[in-house]
Subunit: 282 residues, 2 copies
């Protein structure tokens, strides 16, 4: 067994979205301790520039490494897209993103090869999913669509009803005449909108469409890699789950608990991140 196997796994996100990934990790790895860091003082990353996203991610990862994590999950599509190689270079622990695992799943499951991707503007602009899909399946046709209003809608709890359906109808309209059979929910917030997305896409797409999200795919890859590196815990007790937040505004615990699927109250801690600049991230 690796000497660090008893250490916690770090999970980093720009805000609350990564809690849907955290939730899948709890299910897949019930005995692992998990330490979540949400950069709520600087959320959202989705509409920011590439250099700023990289700087924020490096700052956040440094804080978790100082808390002795054994592996890092970047549970944020935007940070994965822009900062994963920089994080893997800078850290000497395994670093997992949320793009590759679900891309591999989509590439394997699509029959037609036409795969839709919905995400934030920054995720779509990064072409990270398109690159990952084309590497795995060069005949794939990727249909990327930026849906910037879905994050605020999910955070405000507008996950059903005419407003979210009208917004989805507007965003997904380009898929009306495309032979897609698979859609990647390329943002950690979107599982909360899964039902509405499923209803709208089944109404407008000409063929049945399977929706895939990153959470489960990422959890599976993490479990396999930890086992292979002998980094999996040998504990049989339930894992401890703690939440570090760079800002704790009123109402946060309610929103976070909705994303995590259980209460996070009494387990949140406010932390400050020192914002070193891109030129001196190390």
């Amino acid at each position: 067994m690796h000497p660090h196997a008893h250490r916690p796994i770090g999970v980093f996100d720009s805000g609350v979205g990564g809690l849907t990934v955290m939730r899948a990790l709890v299910e897949a790895l019930p005995h692992e301790d998990l330490l979540y860091l949400g950069d709520t003082a600087r959320v959202p990353y989705g509409n920011r520039g590439a250099e700023t996203i990289r700087r924020y991610a490096l700052n956040a990862a440094r804080l978790l490494v100082n808390r002795n994590i054994k592996a890092l999950v970047v549970a944020c599509n935007t940070a994965t897209a822009y900062a994963l190689p920089a994080l893997q270079d800078a850290l000497d622990i395994p670093v997992f993103g949320v793009v590759e695992p679900v891309a591999a799943l989509a590439a394997a499951r699509s029959q037609s090869g036409h795969i839709a991707l919905i995400g934030t503007r920054a995720t779509v602009r990064s072409h990270s999913y398109t690159r990952a899909l084309m590497n795995l399946r060069p005949d794939a046709h990727v249909h990327p669509i930026a849906c910037p209003l879905l994050v605020p809608l999910a955070e405000e709890g507008w996950t059903r009803g005419p407003v979210v359906e009208e917004v989805l109808q507007h965003y997904l309209e380009p898929l009306t005449r495309s032979p897609i059979d698979t859609m990647i929910l390329g943002c950690t917030h979107y599982p909360l909108l899964r039902q509405a997305i499923s209803e709208v896409i089944s109404r407008i797409a000409p063929h049945p469409v399977e929706l895939l999200d990153s959470a489960t795919a990422t959890a599976t890859e993490l479990r396999e890699t930890l086992a292979r590196l002998q980094l999996a815990t040998t504990s049989t007790d339930p894992g401890q789950h703690r939440f570090l937040l760079t800002d704790l505004p009123e109402g946060f615990v309610e929103t976070a608990s909705r994303f995590f699927g259980q209460s996070v109250a009494e387990r949140c801690e406010h932390v400050d991140i020192i914002d070193t600049f891109a030129s001196t991230p190390g």
Copy 2:
């Protein structure tokens, strides 16, 4: 004349919203140089905690003071609500907020004394408008409503049509049976939604309602105070307008130009803000 009269006026906002205030300043003070700072790397402030908002505002003000401004306009309702006294304490130049001027106007113009206030969650929670209105008019009845989805809708350009109307209908529903005759648009983004707000409120409120926004009221107060302090420029040339941004994501120039009412291209500069903590803001 004050020796600093030729210096620029600083205008600070969390992002692009303050550009609606900047626009009113250009009209009211056409010969003044204006230096805008948008903290686009950490926008939005509206859902953050009080201490974080104060820290961000102090950091931003410090940067503008180092650029030799003669006065500061805090063109952000959230920052005005949480940080105005801290900024006035910390700086030795005149500092103007956006709350008092429009509150004074609303207090003077309302017949019924029933005044609605719409704004971000943080602005409403701060009670800054309610306090200002009650000071000026102790018989006032203030009806505050938080509308967190209006900022992302305005930034995405969803300023008309069924989605924004449905969202407004939901938020403004509590006013259906209230005798309001005046509404303060307590967020710098809301002037872009003025037409839709006006249509929805005229449909649901029992009496005609006058909409007031901060931009013009603030510009008028600034002009009068600069004259009184002999800080007004004596130049008769058109003022220079420059824009400092802590992040310059793709698409920013288009959004900013929409808020400012004219192109900001070629006048934007990327700056970094050093995030000193609340304990050492000075």
